[in-house]
Amino acid sequence: MIRSIRFNSTQTGLKKTALHDLHVELGGNMVPFAGYSMPVVYKGQSHIESHKWTRSHAGLFDVSHMLQSTLQGKGAINLLHKVTPTDFQQRSPGVGTLSVLLNPEGGIVDDTLITKQSTHDFYIVTNAACAENDSQFLLSELQSVTEAKWTPIRNRSLLALQGPDAHRVLKPLLAWDQSLTDLYFGHRRTYKLFNGTYIDVARSGYTGEDGFEISIPNESASDFVRSLLDNQLAKPIGLAARDSLRLEAGLCLYGNELNESITPVEAALSWVISKNRRNITEGVKFNGYEKIMAQLNNKTHRDLRVGYKYQTKGPAARTGSKIFLPDGKTEVGHVTSGSASPSLDNLNIGQGRVLKPHNKRGSNLLVQVRNKLLPIELVKMPFIPSHYYKG
């Protein structure tokens, strides 16, 4: 039934995170991912158990494969305002946001989390699989900006601690005078651990749950992870559950929902285009400004990212499955991510791109899986309520 049952995990040339040996010790099933050897599930917890544990307690993910970097200098804002449609001028220091890097045609080079550390100092997280491309893109864009320096961070690990118990797991490891109660969603700050180590903590993540993304020096990462996992509320969680959690949260996966030919408007991410970056008469315009503003103002785009739920049981539609009108003949889109939803009793859900005007919530369409057409309904995302800590 399984033609090639196991992935070649002895593949050479894979990079390892600082936590690699600990993953193996914890029973991580290591697979190649974006050039790294990463855990997909851990022994003793199935994918669905891992998923549900994160939604009900706290899941710990090694996301050190993602690229952390800084952008510093007086020209930093000018660069950010050229390559993203998001405002960073009026943003308060210590506050971050999801955004997108735009190519000159307004297509998405990568999705990213950018935090303003101070007026001329920004912390950026981008995707591992896009690292080389992003690097070339940023270095080329930097040529037209003065006084801005982009520096990848190589000596720090990145962890995501996610779930309703995440704060209960992190808090006991902080120095006695450190508080998480005024660290709201999107905020990022340096904290001191009980043992004197400094960590940078952002209240963010990619699961729809409350939680933290923690940047820590590589040499301290392993001990810190052991301390977090000493807490019975926390378990290590692999990439399989990370993907199903983000899908339920209605979040995009670069390469599936996003690519260089899709604009933020088409990706249903218009909220990353800040109000004061629209209708610019003077000052820096972001890449693809004319096209993106025409889409915002005149609705010139042809299709949009949507979410759907199955109306019956059946095999899950996967990436590339075609979407049809109820006549079963008129193709109006395709699936970009799809799977059973562990939080919805394994009901099949997914995201896709659907032509206007068939993209409306409540539309009944059909999705093709092999030789079957299965009924779906377009629904609002996220598929389950988000639990961000907004105070």
């Binding site: 399984i2 090639s4 196991r6 992935f7 991912f33 997280v125 993907d243 670069y254 599936n256």
Partner: protein, 167 residues
């Protein structure tokens, strides 16, 4: 944010420790108890299917414990239609997990007599008892007498050995 999906093209599947006996047929479930004295033969394929043949010329089909562990939680099982005629090697259904869908293939030629409808409401039987209550279909074997001489069918010992050699 989260990076490009490689997972879906990957069968992320290395199972670390297995007991020798886990790929043996469950003695308490229908694929065994269908005949009072048990099946006349139990065979395996290197694609991780099993077949339990009975003296009336029919056989139960399913996937091995090794395959079920590798797939992870089954979320949906696509079952075959009754009376479908299938050649050895043809797909007769599929097993879906959250991440992937894998087709299941007929170890021998035959006609579908029945599918295990319990899997519609309890796909997890594939994980909890893949060699018993998680059987997928029962077929009428086209040539029941030539089972022993058919190519590609392994005994339990041969199958277990092939798993070891693959590691």
């Amino acid at each position: 944010m989260f990076s490009r999906a490689l997972l879906r093209t990957v069968n992320p599947l290395r199972i670390s420790i297995r007991a020798q006996s886990t790929n043996a047929l469950s003695k308490t479930a229908l694929p065994f108890t269908y005949s009072p004295s048990g099946p006349s033969a139990v065979k395996y394929t290197n694609q991780h299917e099993w077949l339990a043949a009975h003296s009336d010329g029919t056989a139960f089909l399913g996937i091995t414990k090794y395959a079920a562990d590798a797939l992870g939680d089954a979320t949906y099982v696509e079952l075959p239609e009754k009376e479908t005629q299938l050649e050895a090697g043809e797909a007769y259904g599929s097993v879906e997990s959250v991440k992937s869908a894998s087709e299941v293939y007929q170890p021998v030629s035959g006609e579908i007599m029945e599918a295990n409808n319990n899997l519609e409401s309890q796909p997890q039987l594939i994980n909890t008892d893949p060699l018993g209550d998680g059987w997928i279909a029962r077929i009428k074997i086209a040539e029941p007498d030539s089972l022993e001489s058919q190519e590609g069918l392994l005994s339990l010992e041969q199958y277990e050995r092939s798993l070891k050699e693959d590691e």
